[in-house]
Amino acid sequence: MLVVPLYTLLIAYITFLAIFFIFFITNLLHILLTGTTTFFSLIITFIILALSILTIYATWYYLQDTIWTQTITLIDINWLKSLLANFTSNRQYF
């Protein structure tokens, strides 16, 4: 049985956020450093930034009461056993 604590997912999520911000900053720097900043590019940047902050805030809001130490079962051999048992008992022959 492969069991991991829930905070493993949180670590993976934070890693994803770090990658997200690296790419976001890279995109922003591309616009700023090439001297092509326009009203349109600022509006799009603002919308994307606002949506991203809103998403991260909503994630935090809905997950603030989560007990991160509880475990999650990734693989359980009993699942495979019951699956095989179901398969053999429901087998039909033509």
């Binding site: 829930l6 790419f23 092509t36 994307i48 949506l51 998403t55 509880q70």
Partner: protein
């Protein structure tokens, strides 16, 4: 950094115009983005009305679902923004001396080509298709005598007018270069 310093503008040089892709060519990305935004809501509705709905109310199922949705939304925001940047950074700059083509192929792939105006031999503008005809945008191809044999402005607004302007500027520059 300004555009002036980016192109290393010479003292006698004047930027005549800058051209970008027509904004209408970005609309398919916006539609695709909006469709991708709807997907999780549809998926949630499907899961909620199926036998899998019991997993959504368990603490781990809920946590997994929220984290997955968050990752999905942030990924499509980034995807959209990266597409916008590659669209926005395709710029063609025409000065009274040269022509610069700055093309952002992907986030880490940028190509800048330069051409002296007097090297232009002929120019072709092309408006082909339903939307280009309605919104008046298309391509301008420049045949040159230089190392780059063809120079293309892609999906720019008013291609016929721009072609005429480029040819006028080229004729002016040729006069200057042909002076004994």
């Amino acid at each position: 950094m300004s555009l002036r310093s980016l192109i290393k503008q010479k003292s006698y040089e004047k930027v005549m115009f800058t051209a970008r892709r027509h904004p209408i060519t970005f609309v398919p990305y916006v539609i695709f983005f909006l469709l991708l935004l709807i997907v999780p809501f549809g998926l949630y509705w499907l899961l909620n009305n199926s036998s899998l709905s019991v997993y959504l109310i368990t603490p781990t199922g809920r946590t997994l679902g929220i984290l997955a949705a968050s990752v999905y939304f942030l990924s499509i925001f980034l995807f959209f923004y990266t597409n916008f940047v590659t669209f926005h950074l395709d710029v063609w700059i025409v000065t009274n001396d040269r022509l610069l083509d700055m093309e952002q192929k992907s986030l880490f792939d940028r190509v800048i080509s330069e051409l002296d105006l007097y090297q232009i031999q002929d120019a072709t503008s092309e408006i082909s298709g339903f939307f280009p005809s309605i919104f008046n945008y298309g391509n301008i191809s420049l045949q040159t005598a230089g190392a780059i044999d063809r120079f293309t402005f892609k999906n720019v607004a008013n291609p016929n007018k721009l072609r005429e302007l480029i040819l006028d500027l080229s004729a002016e520059d040729k006069k200057y270069h042909e002076k004994p």
